[in-house]
């Protein structure tokens, strides 16, 4: 196996020739998320013939199209439902879902909730740009209060979804949020999420200068990327300040996005439980566990 050391080698190994560079706008964070994911896959040494990518609809959902592996570009919001089906049909496959905040938290919200609750074995990489980027900037359920969108021209009055908190409450095995601004922590985090059995979620806060930044006056690309430096805080620091900080410090961090790893559990995933169930029923029937092959030959 070639040892991958540079972005150029990474690109040659994992991406479809002739598809690059991406169609994404100048300053969009989606390409960086793809790159971090590929570095994580490379570090794990995953076999791309045993890895399937699924996505719904949106700019973020175009990512599997660039990767030289099997992928399903499905209908809007249904990436997780298709992913569940693939895993059920062939539990040996590794499943990675690329989805947007609209795709995952909006139209696909119910699929997300139940996949997390059932601890279905897959890794969901949700790219949160606070907006429906592809269709020109409609309000997403993740948009911070007062955000401007084509469907919220006077400012958003709806409290946003915290998708990491939701996944955590549902007992997902691995939950983390990062920005695209710093490579090393997210690459390690995606690696941990991929290696994890059960349901794992990595949310990326990523800039969409075209549909969100411009409308919300976040400035040029440089300033927009800096917004993520200035409005996020490591969860450890955040909790320390909320617990022990002064009122002034608390006020400062109140509206920041905590980033980091929020949950890391080792509960058995759905398909592990399912296999155990099958074994249990076989023992009952045959008084001893039976290998799957022997069952088929009977």
């Amino acid at each position: 196996m070639v040892e991958i050391k540079t972005a150029d080698q990474l690109n040659k190994k994992y991406l479809r020739e002739g598809m690059w560079p991406t169609i994404f706008c100048n300053g969009c964070g989606h390409g960086t998320v793809l790159e971090y994911t590929l570095w994580a896959i490379e570090e794990l040494g995953w076999d791309m013939d045993k890895t399937v990518f699924t996505s719904g609809i949106g700019c973020s959902s175009r990512l599997p199209g660039y990767i030289n592996a099997d992928g399903l570009h499905t209908t809007h919001g249904r990436a997780i439902a298709f992913a569940t089906g693939i895993k059920a049909a062939n539990p040996d496959l590794n499943i990675i879902v690329f989805t947007g905040d609209g795709d995952c938290a909006g139209i696909g919200g119910n699929h997300f909730i139940h996949a997390a609750r059932r601890n279905i074995d897959m890794t969901v990489i949700m790219i949160n740009n606070f907006i429906y980027g592809m269709t020109g900037g409609q309000l997403a359920p993740t948009a911070p209060l007062n955000s401007i969108a084509t469907t919220a021209p006077y400012g958003n009055i709806e409290p946003p979804f915290d998708i990491c908190n939701l996944a955590k409450a549902l007992g997902a095995n691995y939950v983390a949020r990062w920005t695209v601004n710093h490579p090393y922590q997210p690459i390690k985090s995606v690696k941990d999420a991929l290696a994890k059995k059960g349901f794992s979620l990595v949310e990326f806060l990523a800039p969409c200068p075209t549909a969100y930044g411009r409308r919300n006056r976040l400035g040029d690309i440089k300033k927009h990327w800096e917004w993520y430096d200035n409005n996020t805080i490591l969860i450890e620091d955040y909790e320390r300040i909320i617990n022990y900080g002064s009122e002034k410090e608390k006020e400062e961090v109140k509206n920041m996005f905590p980033i980091g790893v929020f949950q890391d559990l080792e509960k058995p995933g759905f398909f592990e439980q399912y296999e155990k169930l099958v074994d249990r029923l076989m023992i009952k029937k045959n008084k001893k566990p039976v290998k799957k092959e022997t069952v088929i030959s009977r």
């Binding site: 540079t6 972005a7 150029d8 990474l10 690109n11 690059w20 560079p21 991406t22 994404f24 706008c25 100048n26 300053g27 969009c28 964070g29 989606h30 390409g31 960086t32 790159e35 971090y36 570095w39 990062w178 920005t179 695209v180 601004n181 710093h182 490579p183 090393y184 922590q185 690309i221 440089k222 990327w225 430096d229 200035n230 409005n231 996020t232 805080i233 490591l234 620091d237 955040y238 961090v253 920041m256 980033i259």
Partner: protein
């Protein structure tokens, strides 16, 4: 050394803006998109930290380390969350 796939660059300047030692600048080349891809400054303190390579949304940069025994400036490598 820094290799640039000039035609892949969209000119976002994320690499230039976020290099911890301000080693990059716009080049004189105009690519087919009409933007000027980055290049290393004539005098620069590039320490091959690879931040620009990892951040570039279009994988247009490849950093090839040269043997140089200087301390690596990792200023930007930890998400400090805006707090100084």
């Amino acid at each position: 050394m820094i290799e640039i796939r000039e035609d892949w660059c969209k000119g976002c300047d994320v690499c230039i803006d976020r290099c911890p030692v301000d080693a990059l600048e716009k080049s004189d080349i105009l690519n087919k998109r009409g933007v000027r891809p980055p290049k290393l400054k004539k005098i620069n303190k590039c320490n091959y930290c690879r931040l620009c390579e990892l951040l570039c949304p279009d994988m247009a940069i490849t950093v090839i380390a040269e043997d140089k025994k200087e301390e690596v400036n990792k200023k930007l490598l930890r998400p400090v969350g805006g707090r100084k």
